[in-house]
Amino acid sequence: MFRLPVLVLLTLAIAFGGGAMSASWTLKATSGFGAIKLGSWSAYPELQTADADPFAKAHRADNGRILLGRAEGLVFTALSDEAGAALSGRCAYDISGTTPPTRFWFLQVTDARGAPLDTPARFPTSLNSWTTLRNSDGAFTIRVSADPSPGNWIRLDSDAGISFVLTLIDTPAAASASMIELDMPTIKRIGCRDA
């Protein structure tokens, strides 16, 4: 007598529970398709447009940030260094090289989900194209670490995963990424302190 209701209940539980869990898992795992990947860096040039896929739109609605338009700029995020290891706040990194052609750029260290880190105001948390010192060949090296270092330094002292966010303002990078090899800075891990 109870077989039918139990089976129906089982079906509904699998449908709603499975559907909700898989939707929430997929949203956490991916920011949508259509990424440009250059080395360790990826960007989503269509994320703010009507052409974004449903995953991206769901992410966008949940996040609620006002994204950069196409003529405004492009945001690149790196979650791992050039060896493929995930970025960690306990480690020190050297970000060196050049950026694609752009009128202005700034580099910031955020937590793994893109929120700013809790850093005392006296420490530098970001650098931009006007404040970054260059080598004689035009390339730069930025040291991201807990200990101060001469030259370009961004302070990083966290116990969790982090990401580097490089924002290019007014750049043709999105349009040309598929046609030519664009140079992005490399991320090298220098060392980690103990847990």
């Binding site: 699998i14 709603f16 499975g18 196409r70």
Partner: protein, 184 residues
């Protein structure tokens, strides 16, 4: 046993269905999408400069180099003009519809003068303007919006702290005003 397997199979099918529905419908009911947040800032037709720290509005300047102001409006009753000027290194503007899709963006490199001078219009208003262009809009960039409700983000680049006052002045004096077209 067979009916158990059938129940599980139908359940999995339902899960796939619900998964798709959730992904597609999420933008409609999160309540945290940028359109909802911008509308919650206050009345339409004025610029609100965003704070530099996370706060209850959910919107803030995420980077010290970019200062943003937002304005939401409705073009059904007439064109909306965005006007701003000042001594800043770079400014950018983008417009989004009520689903947070980008409808237009530009930066100071493609501006006619050195300041921001954009007018958002409906297709019907655009036809009217093509017949008779008011002098006020002669130098403006005209952008046609298919959906009447929209919001605009005006951003100023402030590379060093010494640029802050000029950036703040640029955003504080920016205008997001309605204008009426005299009916001919």
């Amino acid at each position: 046993m067979r009916s158990l397997l059938l129940a599980i199979a139908i359940g999995l099918l339902g899960a796939a269905f619900i998964h798709i529905i959730i992904i597609l419908a999420l933008p409609l009911w999160t309540g945290t999408d940028s359109w909802t947040r911008v509308k919650a800032l206050g009345a339409s037709n004025r610029f609100y400069a965003l704070a530099n720290e996370p706060n209850t509005t959910g919107l803030y300047n995420e980077n010290p180099n970019v200062r943003t102001a937002v304005c939401h409006f409705d073009v059904s009753d007439g064109p909306i003009r965005i006007i701003a000027s000042g001594d800043v290194p770079i400014w950018t503007v983008s417009a989004y519809d009520s689903s947070a899709n980008e409808t237009y963006s530009m930066n100071d490199r493609s501006a006619i003068g050195s300041g921001v001078n954009i007018a958002f219009v409906t297709p019907a208003q655009m036809l009217q303007l093509r017949r008779i262009m008011p002098p006020a809009l002669e130098q403006a960039v005209l952008v046609e919006l298919t959906r009447p409700e929209a919001y605009v983000a005006l951003r100023v680049i402030s590379p060093t702290p010494s640029h802050e006052p000029a950036a703040r002045a640029f955003l504080d004096t920016a205008l997001c005003q309605a204008m009426s077209l005299e009916s001919g």
